[in-house]
């Protein structure tokens, strides 16, 4: 069956609309602020036979751009092998196992078979970041974990909803193993309701255009997305482009981890070869393969945002030789840093390799860390324990057109930072500074954007500070003659003495008492092009406004 391009365009818009409506429904009803405010979630439609991505919501968190097709494929394979119970209509599977096509344990996936005339037509799936899934530290980001068991409860695919009804037995097991369990029912219902929205809308689409037409359109759209990506990557001259990006350390062993990347362009095809990359590490900076692939895809989508997210767009991108590296971790390696940090270093390696052949498309390296600072303690005024997260932005890389943006969101995220006033309402802290980090942008023809400089005082009680950040050892890379951005800096001031984490950007459970302070300076972006060619007026304005020093 061939479909005219006009019907195809309309069906493509229709499939996209189904996913966008799922995204909207999930965020609006969710409890977890990471889902509701930070949009740390994603919804999509996946092929019945192999889980291949058909369409995904435009507002999903970028790091999920490629992961759910792997978790759905794994689920389909396990059902075929009989290791997971076969589905019935209105069932919903839950799974958060990182090694089965995931990210870290906190990203919980739901998958629902979508039936037409008694057959599975496709799968609807979504991922949401739960605030806690158990493990040794609240929130799951332990900088010193050495196995996945320390990171939280690991769920294989099980049917949490059976024919539309919540399995209260499975649910009670989950709730007995996670913190703030009483609020999770809100997220579970929101996550399931989003899939229901998708179900209703997809039926409407199929009723209107016919199952066979839509099926044929999906096949055709996949081929065309592949052709579109091929055409775009043909802007790159054939050849091999190399880069190295460094993760500061794994949080346990204080050694930098190298990501070695060689991208080879042949007509219509890019090979991403990770040969020479560091082996699996002791600490939680391992990545699972699905996250590694997704990181490559999201980097390419930052470069070519016009290609719609679908399996076809990824077909011309081949990732090889990850086996034996920390980018393809196997059970029981700890992985909590993969979605937030390692993914951004992989993207940086892609940017650094491709900025030379695509100088108008690619920027110098952005700050590339989620800047996770967690403070957990007891507030004597409220009589309650608290866990506070300060996630922060940093400078973006300079680019062909402009200086980098200051205080932008992480490469893999799209969320807003919470206001200082809200943080002070909710936690016993006082901010002394929340400012542009002067002089942090890498010099260049277009300089990097500025990082953030903040300082927090603990006002009452005792607490423990933990850091999972990166780019402390090396600043974000400059490009085409531009200089590196300033590296991340953490200082903990206790009783008037300054403590700097041994791993610079990572440390677990530093004890604080009232009056102690934490100061964080996040990375500036890499500079783009030779600084000597910078417009003198721009340099003078930078000096006048105190952006450079």
């Amino acid at each position: 069956m061939t479909i005219d391009p006009i019907t195809l365009s309309v069906i493509q818009a229709g499939l996209q609309q189904v996913c966008d409506e799922m995204d909207l429904s999930f965020s609006r009803a969710a409890f977890s602020p990471v889902i509701a405010e930070a949009n740390d979630r994603s919804d999509g439609i996946y092929a019945a036979e192999d889980g291949a991505l058909i369409a995904q919501g435009a507002g999903g968190l970028p790091v999920f751009v490629g992961t759910m097709q792997y978790s759905t494929r794994t689920l389909i394979e396990m059902i075929a092998a009989g290791t997971v119970a076969a589905p019935q209509p209105d069932d919903i599977y839950i799974v958060n196992d990182p090694y089965l096509g995931g990210t870290h344990l906190m990203d919980v996936r739901f998958a629902r078979p979508f039936y037409r005339r008694g057959e599975i037509f496709c799968w609807l799936s979504n991922t949401g970041h739960w605030p806690d899934t158990g493990g040794s530290v609240p929130g799951g980001f332990s900088a010193s974990a050495t196995s996945v068991e320390q990171e939280g409860l690991r769920l294989p695919p099980v049917r949490l909803f059976k024919q539309g009804k919540l399995d209260t037995e499975i649910y009670s097991i989950i709730c007995s193993n996670i913190r703030v369990a009483d609020q999770r029912i809100g997220d579970v219902k929101a996550q399931a309701a989003a899939l229901m929205v998708g179900e209703t809308r997809l039926h409407a689409l199929l009723d209107r255009y016919g199952d066979e037409t839509v099926r044929a359109a999906i096949t055709e759209l996949r081929a065309r997305a592949s052709a579109q990506m091929q055409q775009l990557i043909d802007e790159i001259p054939d050849g091999t482009y190399r880069s190295t990006a460094w993760v500061d350390s794994d949080g346990v062993v204080n050694e930098p981890l190298a990501i070695k990347l060689a991208i080879t362009k042949t007509p219509g095809h890019l090979t991403f070869d990770f040969d020479g990359t560091a082996p699996p590490c002791m600490g939680p900076m391992n990545s699972v393969l699905a996250t590694t692939l997704s990181s490559v895809y999201l980097a390419m989508r930052h470069i070519f945002p016009e290609v719609p997210i679908s399996a076809g767009a990824f077909e011309p991108l081949e990732v090889i030789r990850t086996e034996g590296t920390f980018l393809d971790a196997q059970y029981p390696r700890p992985v909590s840093g993969c979605a937030a940090e390692v993914s951004q270093r992989i993207a940086e390696a892609v940017f650094a390799a491709l900025v030379e052949p695509l100088p108008h498309r690619v920027t110098a390296a952005p700050a590339g860390t989620s800047g996770n600072f967690a403070l957990g303690g007891f507030d004597p005024e409220t009589g309650r324990d608290f866990v506070m997260y300060q996630l922060s932005g940093g400078g973006y890389g300079g680019n062909a057109d402009h200086d980098g943006l200051s205080n932008g969101c992480s490469t893999i995220g799209i969320s807003k930072a919470p206001p200082v006033e809200i943080m002070e309402q909710n936690f016993p802290v006082l901010y002394h500074r929340y400012a542009l980090r002067e002089g942090s942008g890498g010099a260049g023809h277009h300089r990097g954007g500025l990082g953030l400089d903040y300082e927090i005082e603990l006002r009452r009680g005792d607490a423990r500070a933990s850091f999972v950040m990166d780019h402390g050892r090396f600043g974000p890379q400059g490009a085409l003659g531009g200089e590196d951005g300033a590296p991340n800096m953490v200082e903990v001031w206790r009783g008037g003495e300054c403590h700097v984490p041994e791993h610079l950007s990572k440390e677990q459970d530093i004890p604080l008492t009232a009056g102690d302070r934490v100061r964080v300076r996040t990375p500036g972006g890499g500079g783009y092009g030779n600084p000597a060619t910078r417009d003198a007026q721009l340099s003078a304005e930078d000096a006048r406004l105190g952006r450079t020093r």
Binding site: I6, Q17, R224, Y396
Partner: protein
Amino acid sequence: MSDGAIIGVDVGGTFTDLVMIDPSGAIRIAKTPTTLDNQAFGVLTALRDAEVSLPQAGLIVHGTTTTTNAVLERKLSRTGLITTAGFRDVLELGRRTRPQAYGMKGVFRPVIPRDLRLEVPERMDAAGNVVTPLDETALRDAVQTLKDAGCEALVIHFLHAYANPDHEKRAAQIAAQIWPNDYITMGHALLSETREFERGVTAAVNASVQPLLERYIARLRGELADQGYRGDVLVMNGNGGMVSSRLVAREAAKTVMSGPASGVMAAAYTGRRAGFENLLTYDMGGTSTDVALIRGGHPPVSNEIEVEYAMPINVPMVDVRTVGAGGGSIARVNAAGLLEVGPQSAGADPGPICYGKGGTEPTISDANMLLGRLDPGRLNAVKGGVGLETLERVFADLGTPLGVDARAAAEAVIQMANTKMAGAIRMVSLSLGADPRDFALFAFGGAGPLHAAALARELGVPRVLIPARPGLTNALGCVVADLRHDYVQTIGLPLGPDAIDAVRHSFAQQIETGAAALGQETIDIREIRHDCSVDMQFVGQSHVVRVPLPNGTPDLEELQTRFEKVYWERFRVDLPEIRAKVVTVNCSVIGVCAPVDLSGLIAPEGRCAEAHPTGHRDVVLEGQVVRTPIYWRDHLPETVLLDGPALIEQADTTILIPPGDRVEGIADGNLVIHVGGADDDH
């Protein structure tokens, strides 16, 4: 108010529109090009064109884009900021965002540049306790420095001033002794809500447009007075209400985005008179389309509007969302061989090809022209314009990679545009918790009525309401507006007796403050209405839902029930497990003005007893060339009934009635399109 005519004048991006209703009900209209350098000039031209006798005029209500343009183009007064030590960069750091999800690029210009942002020692904590007292010497120095730097307006914005404004008030007092004018804005004055970036930007915008708005209004009043006008000038706010021009500059930020709000208020008023209480309004212009939702005859007001990337102006505004396509949206075939419409737009300059101003890429308007939906005769009317053959060729080129001819390509552009617009309208509707099928589509703007029936079909909306003067809706909004003041109070209490007490107390205070504000106005008020609501959530959530409280403060049980009902309707989720929380208490105090009679919008004397086509044209509809009758709207009988296909033309728009649909004339000159010809009642 004297018994003279009421005149609404709205300045839009391209045109200045005027609607005048005199006490007899007679209506005059005018449309003239907007004069960007001095909007007052276009206003006076419109008044002249409508032959308004200013000495006899009763009231002028004015919608202006002075502040909107100043903000979007950053043509702002030089403004300084004094803020808490350690926080001068809050306005530039924003909330850690980028303009789009993909693409690591972006540019952001803060409202106030870094060298005009100064810090002084002072600090409150979140509970409003003083941590560091205000350093008054440092404050004096800072004020002097900004004055010497040539600043015309001043913002004083301290952390947690919503919890305790003492430092801001004291600082403003001191600054007033030094500052040469009244342009001092305190951060908490417009918006006493938490979130330092949003509050700060709102205050900074207010300060930096204040002098501009005041000068503009003074000039306009002066010119009107010179021509003998003795009445008051009221100015439209973004909340859809009006305030006296003598007071408007104090809270100048509230006039930003007043144009779209005004159109939605006119839609609500028109709908209420016609018995359509639930409307999805859709205003299709040249570059974009504005969508709003009206429930129960009133549009929702939001205080979380971002007017562009990282530019929140968090004062109450009618919730109007701008979505994708407009008449100038460009059609292209992308690298995957698929048709795309937008997001690129030909804008107003050069505009679509059919404008004859040098546009070369095919747009939605061009497709409409080629298909005969718009009068191709107009092409010849454009000086130096292009012919139909040019359009034919451009669309043939567009069709080549799609394997279709020019007309099929043009039809595909319309279909694609309708699919995308319908999707965007659905998203707006759903994000406001409404199913579009429960609404009628209210189409206005120059291009809206041409696409309305097709969009309605796409959305499953059964009826379309087309007002008498779709192209003058914003000006009509000025004429029918009420006086309005909105108040928002944060309480943040779990639902219980304390929360109920706080709600009751807040409403009482808000109603009293509003009554005092209305007391300062000079025009007649028929009655004072209060729109009360609370924003609620389940404990632990971050989004809120708005729970309307038509009868004021409810008891505990009733509020719980109302909240659960609203939540269920929105999300199909019920959560008996979790406690509810009242976040904010909202009250709009509305001074209802005398009703305005719209029956003269289309002059009865011009109407004929029967509908006669003025001509026929070949129009491409669903792949067929159909000989379609064309009617002149002003000549149609008031209770006309026609089956599609038909085109109804008027000075400010063209309406397409597709085959299978039926159009019916009702009171006030409105037309109702029954999609699918269904003749059910509303």
